[in-house]
């Protein structure tokens, strides 16, 4: 079980992350509305303040930078991971040797002739 201090620290961090990631709303609150809210908002407990202080300076700024880097990494990862499934392809160039090309030709001929025969039989 997490101790209370750790839990509070995590909650403070969650709140900061939520604030950093929150998209601006269509109607931004006015200064007066913010002032009214600030008057009634509960203040941080001494433990909360300590937890916040322990996170160091410019927490929101650092969170935003980390988020941007994570997005960058995720794109990079996507590029690097692209051929993962393609591990089954031993021949990514797609060029085939003469044996394979000859087998294609034999199979094509066989199948197309069979279809032709069947169609002409069906017509009769």
């Amino acid at each position: 079980m997490k101790d209370n201090k750790q839990e509070r620290k995590e909650k403070a961090l969650d709140a900061l992350m939520a604030a950093a990631l929150r998209q601006p709303e269509e109607t931004e609150p006015t200064e007066a509305e913010i002032g009214n809210y600030a008057k009634t908002a509960p203040s941080l407990s001494p433990e909360g303040k300590t937890a916040l202080k322990a996170l160091g300076p410019n927490v929101v700024k650092r969170l935003i930078i980390v988020t941007a880097n994570a997005r960058e990494v995720s794109r990079q990862e996507e590029v690097d991971a692209a051929p993962v499934y393609a591990m089954h392809r031993n021949n990514p160039s797609g060029k085939n040797d003469s044996q394979t090309e000859a087998e294609f030709e034999r199979k094509r001929k066989e199948i197309l002739e069979r279809i032709k025969k069947k169609r002409s039989k069906d017509k009769k």
């Binding site: 392809r89 199948i111 197309l112």
Partner: protein, 266 residues
């Protein structure tokens, strides 16, 4: 197309043929679609090809005989991949226009299309519904269990592991390595959240990792396992945690499949 759109198409195909319980009979699906099957004796590096023949109004699917293949699961994946080119609308349009037939290399080298077909193949062979049902009973699986599932479902160990990482709510990372260097890695969402996300291609496998042992034992049919500090694999992660590492040499390919997950709490 997004992976979820591709997943939807694969699920529709599975539902349409009432075969959402693996192993999925992909050749039966192809046959039912009227695709002409052309199993044959092709070169060892050949995996699969689909062509459209206008004069006959038919698709022909070339693939190595599954029974004769060295790695049957790979052939199944290739066949499912070619079916992706058939079932995904914009792929089929290209095939019907003759692009696959007349300029095969261009088509094959188009990474976006290839990747989409790969996603489709994985979704077809390892159906999301079946995987979700497995994970509903227990949210995590060991590498041994994943390998056993891939055998039961006739799917490749790599693609089954990747699908597992995509669906499990647990933190885990699937790593593929070769010659003691990472090739690719896929993290579960939860692993990404806790900073076990990015392993760059070409990073040296940690010497203390069981993956290194597995890499030196190609062809050995056993799962190596042990605990390892996260700093060994993820040196940039701020906090160090204990991970549980399981590694399996992929036949004689020289590649190693690794599953990193959180070490069980003591």
């Amino acid at each position: 197309m997004t992976p979820s759109e591709i997943e939807r198409v694969a699920n529709e195909v599975l539902a349409g043929y009432d075969c959402s319980v693996p192993p999925v009979d992909i050749l039966a699906i192809a046959k039912a679609e009227g695709i002409e099957l052309a199993p044959g004796t092709y070169a060892q590096d050949f995996s699969g090809r689909i062509e459209y023949h206008r004069e006959a109004g038919k698709f022909i699917l070339f693939y190595p005989e599954v029974e004769e293949a060295r790695y049957p699961a790979q052939v199944r994946f290739s066949v499912a991949h070619e079916l992706g080119h058939y079932f995904l609308d914009h792929h089929r349009e290209l095939l019907i226009r003759g692009q696959a037939h007349n300029s095969a290399n261009d088509f094959i080298c188009d990474n976006v299309l290839e990747r989409e077909a790969d996603e489709f193949a994985a979704a077809l062979l390892i159906p999301s519904r079946a995987l979700e049902q497995k994970l509903a009973k227990r949210s995590f699986m060991t590498l041994r269990e994943i390998l056993s599932m891939s055998e039961q479902w006739f799917s490749s160990a790599t693609s089954t592991s990747i699908r597992y990482a995509k669906f499990t709510p647990e933190a885990c990372v699937v790593v593929l390595s070769e010659a003691h260097q990472t090739l690719y890695s896929v993290s579960s969402d939860e692993a990404g959240v806790i900073g076990l996300r990015f392993l760059p291609k070409g990073r040296a496998v940690p010497q203390r990792a069981v993956t290194a042992k597995a890499g030196s034992s190609p062809g050995l049919d056993i799962v190596f396992e042990g605990s390892i500090n996260s700093a060994e694999w993820f040196p940039n992660r701020q906090r160090e945690i204990e991970l549980w590492e399981e590694s399996f040499p992929l036949g004689g390919t020289g590649r190693v499949l690794t599953l990193l997950s959180l070490a069980p709490s003591k």
